[in-house]
């Protein structure tokens, strides 16, 4: 494996020499503008996640309205890949070869970013703040030094749940409903990791495929296994179903909802359909301020978020994915500032891997965006939150997990 990487890097050097030989000045950079680009699913099954790009775009427009960064305006272009990794590869090549962007930023999807990682690293183009919770984007930074993720990774999330259960409910009977792909499996691996010696508390694992019509049968099996602690490592559609089907079966386990499905509007739908008692007490992690949570009504960060969304047409302000977009855009701006008056691709990469941002208004109070040579996970903190009377209420301290 190492030899393959070594050889590929050598082959990549040839590619770099060609680029250098053509006498390239830094692409995507002029004295008044910096051009960055990414891919996002504007169409197809995952199109609900496009607000990640739209929120970021609105934030950049806001920053530009205040003069930009070092007198440069940030131009952010995002292209549709329809959630198809081969289109992602195609569009990314277009951004690099045709549009000549300075860096790739905020592209969404695990397989999608994996598809372009080797290409971008070979060309030494920053693949910044990948919108995916897969651990590999931070873990494999030695082989792919030009790639960095952003959100707390899935494995870390699962670990937080595992540790919490081991500490507070050492006799629980855990059942897991998981999506049968890397995302679900990553969460599972984290859960086992966090439980440690208590991993045998997991009494039932039921997987589902995205092509499955519903998860009725899985929920029935989990109930039959006498599970009292239900881990929902599932996307929103199936998480809502789980609450509803459990309620239909007269079963009320304690539920842990993974972050992807914990948005307030999703929980709201589940509560309406399954009843208040079913979702009461559910647990999840949180690292962003959810704009629909009244606890943040007077918060300066959320007010800023709403005003930007309104003034710069960011889309639906109740969409927590847009908050994510703004947070990652805020971090990019911090990295750009740190990269110097005349940033290069190398200097912004150095900045992105030595961040220490404590003032992100969209993250929970006390959270910081931190990276270093040995830590390529910008966000590795989260709080636990409990669903109570229709709101998420965070409690306890900030967990830090790697």
């Amino acid at each position: 494996m190492k030899r393959k990487i070594y050889l590929s890097l050598c082959a990549a050097c040839a590619l770099v020499l060609v680029t250098v030989a053509t006498g390239a000045s830094t692409p995507g950079l002029t004295s008044s503008e910096i051009l960055i680009g990414g891919t996002t699913p504007l169409s197809g099954p995952a199109s609900a996640y496009q607000s990640v790009a739209k929120g970021a775009a609105a934030y950049f427009r806001y920053v530009n309205s205040k003069g930009g960064v070092n007198k440069r305006k940030i131009k952010y272009v995002y292209k549709d890949d329809g959630y198809d990794p081969s289109k992602t590869a195609d569009r990314t090549r277009e951004l690099v070869q045709q549009d000549k962007v300075f860096a790739i930023f905020n592209s969404l999807g695990t397989e999608h970013n994996l598809a372009t990682r080797a290409y971008l690293n070979a060309l030494k183009i920053p693949q910044l703040f990948v919108a995916s919770g897969a651990t590999t984007f931070g873990k494999d930074s030695k082989q792919y030094p030009w790639t960095i993720g952003y959100q707390p990774n899935y494995r870390a999330e699962g670990t937080i749940y595992g540790r919490y259960i081991a500490k507070t409910s050492p006799k629980a009977r855990i059942g897991v409903l998981y999506q049968d792909d890397d995302y679900g499996k990553d969460l599972m691996a984290g859960l086992r990791n966090g439980l440690g010696k208590k991993a045998k508390l997991i009494v039932s694992k039921q997987g589902y495929d995205v092509t499955d019509p519903d998860v009725k049968s899985q929920v029935a099996k989990l109930k039959a296994a006498k599970v009292n602690t239900l881990m929902l490592f599932a996307t929103p559609k199936f998480a809502i179903q789980s609450f509803v089907y459990a309620s239909n079966l007269g079963w009320r386990p304690k539920a842990y909802v993974n972050a992807v499905s914990s948005a307030a509007n999703i929980m709201g739908l589940a509560t309406v359909a399954a009843g208040k008692k079913q979702t009461e007490g559910a647990l999840s992690i949180v690292f962003l301020k959810d704009p629909t949570d009244t606890v943040w009504k007077k918060d300066a960060g959320v007010k800023l978020y709403r005003s930007i969304m309104k003034k710069f047409k960011g889309g639906n302000p109740n969409d927590v994915y847009a908050v994510y977009g703004m947070s990652v855009a805020h971090t990019f701006v911090a990295a750009l500032k740190k990269a110097g008056k005349n940033p290069t691709r190398a200097s912004i990469m150095r900045a992105a891997t030595s961040l220490n941002v404590k003032n992100d208004p969209f993250l929970l109070p006390g959270m910081s965006v931190g990276t270093s040579g040995s830590d390529h996970f910008p966000l590795d903190q989260a709080k636990l939150q409990r669903y109570h009377a229709g709101h998420w209420v965070s409690f306890g301290g900030l967990f830090r997990v790697r």
Binding site: K4, S8, S86, E111, L114, A118, D182, T211
Partner: protein, 337 residues
């Protein structure tokens, strides 16, 4: 006699024109757009194969995209696991898909029309799940990524490719490779279809009962048509894998099979030249639709409307139109006064 010479002369002129366009086209578009043209070439090869099956033999297939998957994954798996050079895998990819095509063709012996459509549809729907399941071979949900896992097998990794002393950019190389294979495939299809096998296929399409009573071995004809179309799909899939440098189950969903069928019908079933138009339709229309507006849903709306309008205006596809336009010329050349 003179008429015949005139006919041959016109064909040679047409061939020369096509070859000239083929050779100089990249000069008129940016380097990156040569890659787009190359991808259009992939669709062209695939729908020529689909046309042989559906247009000429009358067997509906909603599983052509899955056959492309077989070809694409054969290429990627050979490159990653067996360290084959990417371009040398193409014949084997075609063969693998041809075999699978043949196997798909077996139910066709019992089923027809919409029931055959379901069988091929089932295959297309099952393909992504099958690809995810056998992850040791296919890389599962993450697929296979040639740049990461088999960089030495990728032609043009350094950005340029040298052939016969000429140096080409990787994008140009992909264009020339794909369309060279496309043109050869076109000629082969033309030769097959105009010969005895072609007549057999058309007989099966027009009336199976009549064909059978005329002594046609229906089983052999149908499975052969499936196999041949499979080879074309496999080669197309291999070229797609080489161009994208990745294969992933998400890229070979049922949607691909639908797009290929749309391309074949818009191009004109039963018309080989129309397939060029069909290929460009499938390649460029989604992009053009996005240009109309990128507001959510509008590109799909425009795309769907375009398909409907084309079908209403040209129910036999572009090929039908070409046939009618060329009629005065062909009647003059090929019929006695």
């Amino acid at each position: 006699m003179r008429r015949r010479a005139l006919g041959i002369g016109l064909w040679l002129l047409l061939a020369a024109l096509v070859l000239t366009v083929y050779v100089i086209a990249p000069r008129f578009v940016s380097d990156f757009h040569s890659r787009d043209l190359a991808q259009a070439g992939v669709f062209f090869i695939a729908i020529v194969g689909l046309n042989i099956l559906t247009g000429y033999t009358g067997q509906i297939s909603l599983g052509h995209g899955a056959l492309m998957a077989v070809g694409g994954y054969t290429t990627a798996a050979l490159a990653v696991h067996e360290h084959w050079r990417d371009v040398w895998t193409i014949p084997l990819a075609g063969l693998a898909a041809g075999i699978v095509g043949f196997l798909i063709g077996l139910p066709a012996l019992r089923l027809s029309g919409i029931y055959l459509a379901l069988a091929t549809f089932a295959f297309a729907v099952a393909m992504p799940s099958l690809l995810r399941k056998f992850s040791g071979l296919t890389g599962g949900g993450q697929g296979l990524r040639l740049l990461e896992q088999a960089p030495l097998q990728v032609t043009g990794l350094s950005g340029t490719v040298t052939i016969f002393g000429h140096s080409l950019t990787q994008n140009h190389f992909l264009y020339y490779l794909t369309w060279a294979i496309g043109l050869v495939g076109f000629v082969i299809a033309w030769l097959i279809l105009r010969g005895r096998l072609g007549r057999t296929f058309r007989a099966v399409r027009d009336s199976e009962v009549a064909a059978a009573s005329a002594g046609v071995d229906l089983a052999r004809a149908k499975t052969l048509a499936f196999a041949i179309s499979g080879v074309y799909a496999g080669v197309a899939g291999a070229l797609l894998a080489i161009q994208d440098e990745i294969v992933n189950p998400l890229s070979f969903s049922f949607l691909l099979s639908i797009l290929l069928l749309v391309g074949a019908v818009v191009g004109g079933l039963g018309s080989l030249p129309g397939m060029v138009v069909g290929a460009f339709f499938v390649q460029y229309l989604p992009d053009l639709s996005t240009r109309v507006s990128s507001a959510p849903g509008v590109p799909d709306f425009v795309y769907g409307a375009a398909i409907i309008i084309v079908m209403i205006l040209l129910p036999s596809g572009v090929g039908g139109l070409l046939g009618r336009l060329a009629e005065p010329l062909t009647t003059r050349l090929y019929t006695r006064p």
